[in-house]
């Protein structure tokens, strides 16, 4: 009787991922980022100064609130201003088209900082006029000037987004609505805009993120937003920590908004998923 021996079942050695050049470079870069991250954490711990934190952190958080106010107000007012501009951009009327194009080209082609200076310091030259029309209270204040400029600026971008999204709706949609006898405005409201706004959703999200970043410019005309409070605190302490706090807060704001927008987009386009 012969004995049956099981075939040897030695598991072949796992080969693992080879150490290619790309992997070495990648690992080194990750180590570099980790070192930088640890360095920042170490800086925050080693220079931990409860007095400074107690003094400046609340101000920084107040700055976050001001930044949020500026962003929300300018994006909302910008959306309102963008409506007539978008209509002009889409209009067949050459005069309206040229005016809307000039507006949009001016605000998109010049630096926001220069625009802000133009409004804030430029308004100061016409004190008499603004006092006469009762708007001086508005233009005297850097905060309002910043919101005013940002709203005009973002309106130009939002108008392009909206006009582009409306153009992207296939013309068959207009024709079908015409064939059903829908009035133009109803067609726009019930047929075109719901489709266009879905296309526009992502660019709008990017625009809000750009606005969060751009709002830091308000600090240059003395508005005490997050950046303004940071600059003020840095000028008193000369402690780089404060800039690192601000950087972390800005990154969190932008990341949160980006994630929120992803969720929003998935939710609003769930009927388009196949």
């Amino acid at each position: 009787m012969s004995e049956v021996t099981a075939p040897s079942a030695v598991r072949p050695r796992a080969t693992g991922r080879p150490w290619t050049g790309a992997r070495i470079v990648g690992t080194l870069l990750i180590c570099l980022w980790s070192a930088l991250g640890l360095g920042i954490v170490w800086l925050l711990i080693a220079d931990f100064d409860p007095e400074m934190i107690a003094k400046y952190l609340p101000r920084i958080f107040y700055g976050v609130w001001v930044t949020a106010e500026i962003v929300v107000l300018s994006v909302l007012f910008g959306a309102l201003i963008s409506l007539p501009v978008a209509v002009g951009r889409l209009s067949y009327n050459p005069v309206a088209g040229v005016i809307a194009f000039a507006y949009s080209y001016f605000f998109r082609g010049t630096p926001l900082l220069a625009q802000t200076f133009l409004v804030y310091y430029g308004a100061g030259q016409f004190v008499g006029f603004f006092k006469a029309v009762g708007l001086w209270v508005f233009f005297r204040d850097a905060y309002f000037c910043a919101i005013f400029t940002f709203a005009l600026n973002t309106a130009a971008y939002q108008a392009e987004i909206l006009a582009g999204a409306i153009r992207a709706v296939p013309s068959g949609q207009w024709q079908a609505a015409d064939a059903l006898g829908l009035p133009r405005f109803t067609t726009l409201r019930k047929v075109i805009l719901p489709q266009a706004l879905i296309t526009a959703l992502r660019p709008y999200g990017n625009e809000v993120i750009l606005m969060i970043k751009a709002s830091a410019i308000a600090s240059i005309i003395t508005v005490l937003d997050l950046m303004g409070q940071t600059r003020l605190a840095f000028s008193k302490t000369y402690d780089l920590q404060i800039y690192i706090w601000a950087a972390i807060i800005y990154l969190i704001m932008v990341e949160v908004l980006r994630r929120f927008w992803d969720v929003l987009e998935r939710r609003l386009t769930r009927h388009l998923k196949r």
Partner: protein, 236 residues
């Protein structure tokens, strides 16, 4: 009218020469940043396009940070952080401090921002090149490097050009931020002119119009480059 023209005359009375110099500094800054940003952006796009996960995450961390931070904050971090780090280093080595040049700090900060956006543009251009292009090149016996140089890069430039054009226009506008750390660019010289003459509206409007002219000239030039890049596409 004559009063305004006098303000713009060249020489000790007017501000024409100061503004002209400012334009020169603005354009030089943007032109110096461009090659740095493009090169950096290209390599980051390569990393993001790589099959190696560590390389991809390292590149993604980079873009998340520099696309998320306000340009102004990046600039301050580089300027003051660089100042502190270099001073500490110079103290250790030579026993005396150094000053960080605002022009160099500007190039660094703007290149960081530019490259992180450029990497996204390059990445989507990479995605527009089909695998067959690589396979064909390898089948012909081209090396990795030659494939990149002779086959992929020429197509990449054409696909990336529209996005890069936008980034160049943004870069031109972002240079104005460097005026805040004291670089004598167009906006800073305009500020000085306003401080002396008190003609804020006139001078800032003029500065805006000069920026506008710069971007119109850029658009014309970019149109030419785009026509060159599309020359093999059977268009007109």
């Amino acid at each position: 009218m004559v009063e305004y023209l006098n303000l713009l005359s060249f020489g000790s009375e007017g501000w024409g020469d100061e503004l002209g110099l400012g334009v020169l500094v603005t354009v030089t800054l943007a032109a110096c940043t461009l090659p740095v940003g493009l090169t950096l952006g290209f390599f980051i796009a390569l990393a993001k396009n790589s099959s190696e996960p560590t390389l991809r995450s390292a590149a993604n961390i980079y873009t998340t940070i520099f696309r998320g931070l306000p340009e102004l904050l990046t600039l301050f971090l580089i300027y003051y952080g660089g100042q502190m780090a270099l001073t500490a280093l110079a103290m250790l080595l030579f026993g005396e401090g150094v000053n960080v040049n605002s022009f160099v700090a500007g190039i660094f900060a703007l290149a960081l921002v530019f490259s992180s956006y450029a990497s996204e543009v390059f990445l989507s251009a990479f995605k527009g090149i089909t695998l067959g292009q690589y396979e064909g090149a390898y089948a012909l016996g081209l090396s990795h490097f030659s494939t990149m140089r002779l086959v992929i890069l020429p197509q990449l430039i054409r696909l990336a050009l529209p996005g890069l054009s936008n980034l160049w226009l943004n870069l031109l506008k972002d240079t104005s931020l460097v005026s805040v750390i004291g670089l004598a660019d167009l906006l800073r010289n305009t500020n000085i002119a306003v401080g002396v003459t008190k003609q804020a509206f006139f001078f800032f409007l003029l500065a805006c119009l000069i920026y506008l002219v710069l971007s119109i000239i850029s658009s014309l030039g970019l149109g030419r480059i785009s026509a060159w890049a599309e020359r093999g596409q059977g268009g007109h």
